[in-house]
Symmetry: C2
Subunit: 425 residues, 2 copies
């Protein structure tokens, strides 16, 4: 039995057989640095998947900040501490008015839970609208709202799921899509109202990552939010994937849609892997909810998390990673368009900044999803030393979302690998 087989057997025995693992042959990692991870034999893999280590695996400034603060003080927010207040100010300063306050949590799940509590408290309603192919967390309430994979919890009667426009798949005129899909939001609101359910929130990812990174339909989010607000609900924007300069166009995905949310939820990249997350909203909302709910989070907002979060903001600024995301993202996009011209399996190129996808389809008249090919491709890429994944309703859209320190050289490695892998399909 190989060393990996033995580790896998031990893992199955103590953590279960269904704890998710990537690839047909799971990857056994021991080290990470920048955009590379290394397996136990010392082989390097270009990481084009992980957004959590957003400023690069084991970035020395983040590591040093964590190590220094862990040695100094790690305690909850029932005592005063400078770092967490400094971080809260620095973080909220990156948002548009009137978003000026933050509540800290440990994970995207905790952030979306808190956002739903806050939305229901502020509106007095229970009704939630989500997309019909999404995921916002693993708590019971969020598992019930999950629409992109089955969960034991039934989809709740207080919720409705709406389709998200994907111009690559819906061939009606682009200029009509915003109104058509806003109509689905209106239908969802009316359906809830017909059941006596008052609106609480529209909860969406500003980048529609699980939905497969469809090209933005101008005006859709704005119209959807107007309909929800008119019905008394609020707009919760999940920035767990799109946030922290990922899109290259702005620090936050929602800034690209010119529609400021009432509540923003943060997670994954916030501490470069340190469990740090949060909810950004208006101070009057925090104060009203705080008075009623006595919200406290033991690990949320501890000074080590704050040190990690501050270091991430510093690196994004000092290494100009928003600019890098835009510039390298554009380089990747051009390369992907060249691959599209060469490989007929590619139907379209998606995404922006350092979050991009390729939709793979079969050569038939319906352009049916090339799901098996996408799976084979990510395994071929893994064997070539490049880590990617796939998303979308048919799991036929390649998901590429590297650390933000991805350079044009790294991009060229990815593009060359994809070219070979596509040719070998």
């Amino acid at each position: 039995m190989s060393e990996d087989d033995d580790l896998l057997r031990r893992r199955f025995r103590v953590m279960g057989k269904h704890s998710p693992l990537f690839y047909d042959r799971p990857l056994h990692l021991v080290r990470g640095e920048g955009v590379f991870v290394y397996d136990q034999k010392g082989r390097a893999y270009l990481d084009v998947y992980n957004n959590v280590p957003c400023v690069g695996h084991c970035h020395p400034r983040v590591v040093e900040a964590i190590a220094r603060q862990a040695a100094r003080l790690n305690i909850h927010t029932r005592y005063l501490n400078d770092l967490i207040v400094d971080y809260a100010e620095r973080l909220t300063a990156t948002f548009d008015d009137p978003l000026d306050a933050v509540m800290f949590t440990c994970s995207g799940t905790e952030s979306n839970e808190l956002a739903l509590r806050l939305a229901r408290f502020l509106t007095g309603g229970q009704g939630i609208i989500v997309s019909d192919f999404t995921y916002h967390g693993n708590s019971e309430t969020l598992a019930a709202l999950t629409s992109c994979f089955p969960t034991p919890e039934p989809f709740p009667p207080y919720a409705r799921a709406i389709p998200i426009p994907d111009p690559a798949r819906d061939k009606r005129p682009l200029s009509e899509l915003a109104d058509i899909y806003a109509g689905h939001v209106r239908d969802a609101v009316r359906s809830l109202q017909a059941d006596g359910v008052k609106m609480a929130a529209l909860l969406i990812d500003s980048f529609f990552a699980n939905e497969g990174l469809p090209a933005p339909v101008p005006g859709f989010v704005k119209k959807a939010v107007e309909i929800v607000r008119e019905a008394g609900g609020v707009y919760i924007c999940d920035e767990v994937q799109a946030g922290f300069a990922r899109t290259g166009g702005a620090m936050w995905g929602h800034q690209l849609t010119k529609t400021t949310p009432d509540i923003v939820t943060l997670g994954k990249p916030m501490g470069n892997g340190h469990p740090l997350a949060g909810v950004v909203t208006r101070i009057d909302s925090v104060d009203a909810f705080g008075a009623a709910a006595n919200y406290f989070n033991t690990f949320g907002g501890n000074p080590v998390s704050a040190a990690a979060g501050l270091a991430v903001l510093d690196v994004i600024k000092d290494e100009r990673l928003l600019e890098n995301s835009r510039r390298v993202g554009e380089h990747v996009r051009q390369g992907l368009e060249r691959l599209k011209a060469k490989h007929s399996i590619i139907d379209n190129v998606r995404g922006r900044g350092l979050f991009f996808g390729l939709e793979l389809v079969k050569g038939d008249a319906q352009a049916s999803p090339a799901t098996a090919e996408a799976k084979r491709l990510i395994n071929i890429m893994r064997d070539k030393g490049v880590l990617i994944s796939r998303i979308g309703r048919h799991d036929n859209i390649l998901k590429m979302r590297p650390p933000l320190v991805f350079s044009t050289d790294h991009a060229d490695m990815l593009l060359a690998g994809l070219d070979e892998a596509l040719a070998s399909l």
Copy 2:
């Protein structure tokens, strides 16, 4: 304006006025070491409150483990990694059969959420029984089940709250209390059944910390669990407070009641402040749930958390902290009994190991709760440089729960401080 006033004003503006703070004059901390924390003026405070830094503030072995692993690799469990499997094996080995598997999370809230999902999946029921003065987390579902402070979420129709026996306050014969209070559990089961709600779980803290650390009533938990299991439910034991050698009698609080839970939830002390938590149960439960739920937790079970968790287990073993908890806890208890003989405001001494309480009552015939005095006392103690808090239905029970490296010398500092503070009331 003082430096602290300015920090407080900034905190209010960006984190809200109701984010909880201890003491009439909040404490501004900058450093921690062992059982001491230090304010910005360098003044030391004996920490008799915090169980999260269970092996001591900034324990060098935990700090070093975190720093080393953060510099090496921090990634999720979709790749194989040795450390998390090693930790899962080490952790589950401290539990009795048949508890042999673990799912990792980031907080006690996430653990109790996952435990409820698991219980409902395994039983096909929805019914939850909790104590009538408790708290298990800050998610929407757990906030609704909260009974020890108000939340905006109503107590749910699928739940019932039972009283927990407190022999110091219920003067009926001790030998009858287990049956009397098990009767409340039976009533709760029947009430749920009458409403057509099938049992899912009894969710209790094995030490009844929020309830005020009542002296254990032999047989109560065993009988309660039997009734719940007969009705098709499972027993979830919340070890977020009582676990990790806290009680001095066993690694886990539930081991003192000779009743092995179906599901155990872990949190606070698990990573000595690093956000690490988990759910321990049987591997067949994990596999069945995993197949249906596709549970994944981005930060849960990352190698830095595993390194922190392993270091905590190592220190507990190498520094013999279970033995220390028993031995020093006994020393404290004897000292508290002497204070009780001297100060009539003390009605009784509570707790065991390094988790102890003093119930303060007025001199009237009803021994009514000395709530205001308890509040004054913890503020006097803060000014003397000793950090404690209070719990219980009337907030009149002093809550003392120091890091496990608390020595008899530290205990004598606490006892001397309490003696003076009680005299000055």
